[in-house]
Subunit: 372 residues, 2 copies
């Protein structure tokens, strides 16, 4: 019965051997109210006179009370955490920021999450330790999901909202955001044609993600339409060495193009180096455009025209869509209705490498995305 008596109340104060963090009970005891009152006062709920509220707040402050995030999460089912999944290529433990796109996108996403009170945790698509199981997530952003991505399907099955950057191939997501890659490629090809290109080549990738696929298809379709024989080389995009080789191969062909568009960030410098090797002047003998977020291309010799996918806007939009889904009033039912898609404009930054006549650097007006 002594045990029962000791257990009845004040357990913490009598039993405590070392000072631990103050809990909501300690605050309640110190303020002479119940824990219900403390919770309500601190969270702005319930019906309490202002004096009680302020008194409880003061006591909590004095005790240095911090509510346990774990307990709150357990009770409410909300952790305030969202995941950002990046695809890991091959063995590399972690290769985001390898391309400036990922870095910018992640930065914007983190920032957008924070302004809405969420924190963002970057997770690899797969890792040895099952970090996924150990983190309570309210939802996930997936960058460039694979065609039948099993991880996305699993997340969705668990009832977690999933928003993807990149139109999902064939997996269920709550919503997705992507650039209008088709329009972007067509804009570039027209731009090059206007600058006098007769045979436009493409440096593309071998993987099956939406970006690569749509861009390549747009190129092939355009070639077919204008009656040009396609001239392209594909390589595994995650291998920087392969990119340089592919660029060289493209310019070594007998049917050498007089203009090239490179789909990936390092293509610009690779193509420039290859052009030098073959004695080709840019832009006189070869017009160059590549897709990149890096501002290196503003200072190369010559400066290279780039297509920006505006990763900041994408990251912000993706996160806001996700949080909308998380907080949405039952809008997310888990039923198999087609997810909301949104196309974001790209921006072509025209520099000397794609202009036969030296003109001022201009920026094209962003396209208004169609409804599709």
């Amino acid at each position: 019965m002594t045990a029962a008596a000791a257990n009845q109340s004040g357990r913490r104060s009598t039993h405590a051997r070392r000072m631990e963090r103050a809990g909501i009970r300690d605050v309640a005891a110190a303020a002479g109210v119940s824990i219900t009152t403390v919770s309500d006062a601190l969270n702005g709920k319930g019906r309490l006179p202002d004096e009680t509220r302020s008194k409880v707040r003061e006591v909590a402050e004095r005790l240095g009370y911090r509510p346990s995030a774990a307990a709150r999460t357990l009770r409410t089912g909300r952790s305030g955490l969202i995941g950002l999944t990046v695809t890991t290529y091959g063995q590399e433990p972690f290769t985001f920021t390898e391309f400036a796109y990922f870095a910018e996108m992640a930065r914007a996403a983190t920032s957008a999450a924070l302004t809405r009170g969420y924190a963002l945790v970057v997770l690899p698509a797969a890792s040895r330790h099952d970090v996924w199981g150990n983190v309570a997530l309210d939802g996930t952003v997936v960058i460039d999901p694979a065609d039948h991505d099993p991880m996305v399907a699993e997340l969705y099955r668990q009832g977690l909202p999933v928003v993807s950057d990149g139109k999902p191939g064939n997996c269920p997501v709550t919503a997705w955001v992507d650039n209008d890659h088709t329009s972007a490629v067509l804009e570039i090809l027209e731009h090059l044609a206007e600058a006098g290109a007769r045979r436009i080549g493409l440096l593309t990738g071998t993987s099956t993600d939406t970006y690569t696929r749509l861009s390549t298809e747009a190129y092939l379709g355009w070639c077919h339409r204008v009656g040009q024989q396609p001239v392209y080389e594909a390589y595994p995009a995650h291998d920087p060495c392969a990119g340089a080789v592919a660029a060289d191969r493209l310019l070594a062909r007998p049917d050498r193009p007089d203009a090239v568009y490179g789909l990936f960030d390092p293509n610009g410098t690779d193509l420039l180096a290859a052009a030098r090797r073959y004695g080709l002047r840019v832009p006189e003998d070869l017009l160059l455009v590549c897709c990149s977020e890096s501002d290196v291309y503003a200072t190369t010799e010559p400066p290279i025209t780039t297509l920006s996918l505006k990763p900041q806007r994408i990251g912000t939009t993706v996160v806001n869509l996700l949080i909308d889904a998380i907080e949405g009033v039952g809008a997310f039912t888990g039923a198999g209705d087609t997810p909301e898609g949104q196309l974001m404009p790209t921006e072509l930054i025209v520099r000397r490498s794609s202009q036969r006549r030296p003109t001022r650097t201009t920026v094209s007006a962003p396209r208004v995305p169609g409804e599709d």
Copy 2:
């Protein structure tokens, strides 16, 4: 009594209105064992025959059971989450990846955390919503803490392990890691002097963080020792525009230096531009070195010698120290003993901008840090 009977067991299966995620109870019921057995079987604890273990695992797999991270965290006190705090300059919501150092450091830290089964969440030093209170962290990495950083003190008071990147000015941390900035600056100054510099200038910052302070002090001490009049300009490092102005000012001085070391990433291009404006040839009239992680400087004209702080190694080390403290056997007592410090070597990447005679690009051997 009907309520009591209904409550006694099988509550979930009778009461459940909509299919939710399977809990540990469901697994126990389906496997015909107790929840203790399920927990033990899945976590590899307790004394169980292998057949029971495998059976429980199979049932759990079949039901798609995922343990609740929130409940586990609440129970065990471990969330598997560590924070990475970056200092936010001024109004900007989030400016990491502004300098390549942060991006690289964050990437390495994320990767290192993941390989030890932890996830990393990037948090701003301050934000409107109190994200800190909403996230259960096992510990925190702080980049460049201010002199009497209140946030660090608060975290430490809560009993959270804190490891800082940058020797802490005057706040309690569990451990810290930093470059040997003093040695690095001396190495650069000697390198420039050997290349023929007679008057070496410094482009530095106005803030009070350890990096700026130590580097500037090392420069001033060296000047004093060799009897050179210090020639330097300081500007707020977070303002990119101010950097260009300061670079210009430095080269416009009557006592114009014939060599300059810039402490911040953009200083190289800024100084190069300023040199062009004044008709100074690099390296003939002006030797240039700057601290940067960007590989842009390998392709500028001329390529610029840079000091790399090796942020990958720093990020990895910091995270591993933090996790050691988290998992350490009571080594972290919270007593006021002096924290463990660790100095990491830097790397000087010598390029044309700091060499009077054109030689091959070489890399100096990293210094072995002293014990201090």
